[in-house]
Amino acid sequence: MLAIRNLNVHYGGIHALRGIDIDVPDGKIISLIGANGAGKSTTLKSVMGLVPKSDGHVYWDDVEITSLKTKDIVGEGIILCPEGRRIFPDLTVDENIAAGAYLRKDKDGIARDREWVYNLFPRIAERTWQLGATLSGGEQQMLAVARALMSKPKLLMLDEPSLGLAPLVIKDIFAIIQKIKEEGVNILLIEQNAKAALEISDYAYVMETGVITMAGPGKALLNDPRVQQAYLGE
C-alpha cells in the first residue's frame, strides 16, 4: 500500500503541490483526475523522486520512501509509466522490454515476465523485432506499459495512458489495465479522460491547482454533478 501524506512541491517560486494526501490500497485501481496544470504528473514524479519534495512523506508498506533515490524506489517495486510513452525509438520492441527489467537479476523470472507481458499485449508480441519508432501510437503506449511491468512492480503508476489515442484503442488499454490489477498489481492512474478513468477506478481523487478537492468511489464521482460539469462535459 502506498500512502502519500502532506506532500508539498515547489518549482522555483511556484507552489505546485500544496499538501496532498492520497492512499493506494492493495488490489485497487486509484485514479487522480484534474485539469492541465493541476499537479497530477508532479505528484507521480515526486513519488518517484524525479522531482524534489519540499515537505511531506511517502510511505510504501513498512518503508518510508520519501527521500530514497529513484533507482531504489524502483527497487522497492514502484514504477512510473511516463506521460507521452517515452519508449526508446531506436531499440527494437524486445530490447525496449528488456530495458524495463534493467534492475532485475533473476534470468528465469525475467523470461517468465516477458512471456506474461507478451500474453497481455498480443499486438506487440507480433512485433518483437520492429523498432520502437515504427509502432503506432496505441502500440507504443502498450509497449510503454509492458516495459514498466517488466520491473515486476507491486505498484504501477500510469501517467495519461490515453494521451493522443483513438477511443477504441483507449478502450483496449483500459481493459488491459483492469487485467493487470487482477494479476495483483496496484494501480495509480492519472487521466484527463476522466470518464474512462472513473469507470474502472475503485476510488478516485480530484485535483485542482495543487490540492485535492474531492474524493470518492469512481462510480460515485462519475455521477456527481460537480464532477460532471467540470470534467465530463455534461
Partner: protein, 435 residues
C-alpha cells in the same frame, strides 16, 4: 537606466563607428612602421576580418539553418585559387608555372583592365575575379548540395568534410597543373595595398549576411533549424531553403578565400585542410552558435591569440616567463587547453545567440560603474549561495541516511508507519485551500 534609441540615431552611431574604424585601419596600415606592436594590431584586424567573414558564413549554415557542415575550408580553397589564377601578371607566368610551361592562362584580368581604363580598371580587375570566385564556389556548392543536403546532422558533416578533402586533392592533381600549378605555390598575383580592403569587403559581406538572416528567408532558416517537420508543415520548402543557405554560405566562404589569398600573397592547397575548418568552427563556437556578432568577436580574439598574444609560447619566452617547454608548437597545446575550458565551462560562447545592439551596449556601459561597485558584494552573495547549496545537499544526504536507518528500525519493531485514509462510499468535498 535602460537605453532606448530610435532607429535614426542607431544608424548614425553605426555609420560613425564604422567610418572611424575604417579610417583607423587605413591610416594605421599606412603610417605605423612595420615591426611595431601597433602594426600587429592592424595585421590582426586584417586577418581577423577575413576569418570573421568565413565564420559568419559558417554560422549561417550551422547556427541559423542547423546544417552541421564542415566544408568551409574546401570552399575557401576554391575561392582562393579562382581569384589567384586570373590575376597573376602576364610577365610572371613563366616563373610561377615553371614546371608547366607557364600554364595555359597567360593573362591577368587586372592588367588588361588597368591598361584600358587605368587605376579604376585595376580595382575592377580585382573585384571581378573575387566576385567570380564567390559565384564559382556557389555553383560548386549547389552541385555538391544536391546529394549532400539530403543527409542529416553528423552524416552531413562527414559528407561535407569528405568533399572538402576531395577538392583539396583535386587542386593538387598534377594533370591540372597548367591551371592550378599542381602542388606548387601560386604567387605574384595582385593583392590589395591597404588593410582597409579586406575589412571593407568583409564588413559589407557580413552586413549582407545579417540582412539575409533578418529577412523572410532567415526566419525560414531558423524554423528549419528548430523543427524540420513543423517548418515543412508551414509550407517551407526544406530542400530549397537548405540549398539557398548552403550556396550563399559557400559564396561568402569563396570571397573570404580570395581575401585570404591576397592577405597571404602566396597560396597552396595544403593548409586548406580539416584543421582550418576546425579553426573556423572554433571561432563560431567561441563566439556563440547563432550569433553573427559572436562570430566576429570570436574571429578577432582567435586571430589575436594565435598570431599575437600567444606567439611568445613558441619562442621560449612569454609574459616574462621562460621555460624549455615553450618550443614551437607549444602555443597550439595551450590553445587546445583554452578551447577545452571554454567549451566545458562557457558552452554558449561569448554572445550565446544574442546580437550586438546599441541599446544593449549603452545600457551595459551605463550600468558598468554601479555593477563594478556591486561586484564584491555579488561575489560574496554568490559564494554564500554556493555554500548554502552545499549545506542543503549534505542535509539531504544525511536525511536519506537517517531515513534508511529509521526504516530498518521500524521494520524491526513492526510498528505501523501511517494510518490509512478513510475510504468513504460517497463523494467527499475538501476545503479548497491547501493545508
Amino acid at each position: 537606466m535602460e537605453v532606448r534609441l530610435n532607429n535614426k540615431t542607431k544608424a548614425a552611431l553605426s555609420a560613425i563607428a564604422v567610418a572611424l574604424f575604417l579610417i583607423f585601419v587605413f591610416l594605421g596600415d599606412k603610417f605605423i612602421p612595420a615591426g611595431s606592436t601597433w602594426k600587429m594590431l592592424i595585421t590582426v584586424i586584417e586577418k581577423g576580418s577575413i576569418y570573421a567573414l568565413v565564420a559568419a558564413s559558417m554560422n549561417l549554415l550551422n547556427g541559423f539553418t542547423g546544417l552541421f557542415s564542415l566544408g568551409q575550408a574546401g570552399f575557401m580553397l576554391i575561392g582562393a585559387y579562382s581569384y589567384a589564377i586570373f590575376t597573376i601578371p602576364a610577365g610572371s607566368h613563366e616563373k610561377v608555372y615553371q614546371y608547366f610551361d607557364g600554364g595555359i592562362i597567360k593573362w591577368s584580368l587586372v592588367e588588361i583592365l588597368e591598361g584600358k581604363i587605368g587605376i579604376l580598371g585595376h580595382y575592377i580587375g580585382m573585384f571581378i575575379p573575387m566576385l567570380g570566385a564567390g559565384l564559382f564556389v556557389a555553383v560548386i556548392a549547389y552541385l555538391i548540395g544536391i546529394p549532400v543536403l539530403r543527409l542529416k546532422s553528423d552524416y552531413l558533416a562527414i559528407a561535407t568534410l569528405g568533399f572538402a578533402e576531395i577538392i583539396r586533392a583535386f587542386f593538387q592533381w598534377n594533370t591540372l597543373g597548367p591551371v592550378t600549378n599542381g602542388s606548387n605555390v601560386l604567387r605574384k598575383y595582385t593583392t590589395y595595398g591597404n588593410a582597409v580592403f579586406p575589412v571593407l569587403i568583409g564588413g559589407i559581406s557580413i552586413a549582407l549576411i545579417l540582412l539575409l538572416i533578418n529577412s523572410t528567408y532567415g526566419r525560414a532558416f531558423k524554423a528549419i533549424r528548430d523543427d524540420e517537420i513543423a517548418a515543412e508543415a508551414m509550407g517551407i520548402n526544406l530542400f530549397k531553403h537548405k540549398e539557398i543557405s548552403f550556396v550563399i554560405s559557400s559564396f561568402f566562404a569563396g570571397i573570404s578565400g580570395a581575401l585570404l589569398a591576397m592577405f597571404q600573397t602566396t597560396i597552396n592547397a595544403t593548409p586548406f585542410n580539416t584543421v582550418m575548418t576546425y579553426e573556423i568552427l572554433l571561432i563560431v563556437v567561441i563566439g556563440g552558435i547563432g550569433s553573427i556578432t559572436g562570430s566576429v568577436i570570436g574571429a578577432f580574439l582567435f586571430t589575436a591569440a594565435s598570431e599575437w598574444w600567444l606567439r611568445g609560447l613558441d619562442s621560449g619566452r612569454w609574459l616574462g616567463i621562460s621555460s624549455s617547454l615553450m618550443r614551437p608548437g607549444f602555443r597550439k597545446v595551450v590553445f587546445a587547453v583554452l578551447i577545452m575550458l571554454i567549451v566545458l565551462f562557457y558552452a554558449q560562447g561569448i554572445m550565446g545567440s544574442k546580437e550586438f545592439s546599441w541599446d544593449r551596449f549603452l545600457t551595459w556601459w551605463k550600468r558598468l560603474p554601479s555593477n563594478l561597485k556591486a561586484w564584491p558584494e555579488r561575489h560574496r552573495a554568490k559564494s554564500e549561495a554556493r555554500k548554502e547549496a552545499r549545506a542543503v545537499k549534505a542535509a539531504a544526504k544525511a536525511k536519506a541516511k537517517e531515513a534508511k536507518a529509521d526504516n530498518e528500525a521500524r521494520k524491526a519493531s513492526g510498528k505501523a508507519l501511517f494510518t490509512p485514509l478513510p475510504m468513504s462510499d460517497h463523494v467527499i468535498v475538501f476545503e479548497k485551500e491547501g493545508k
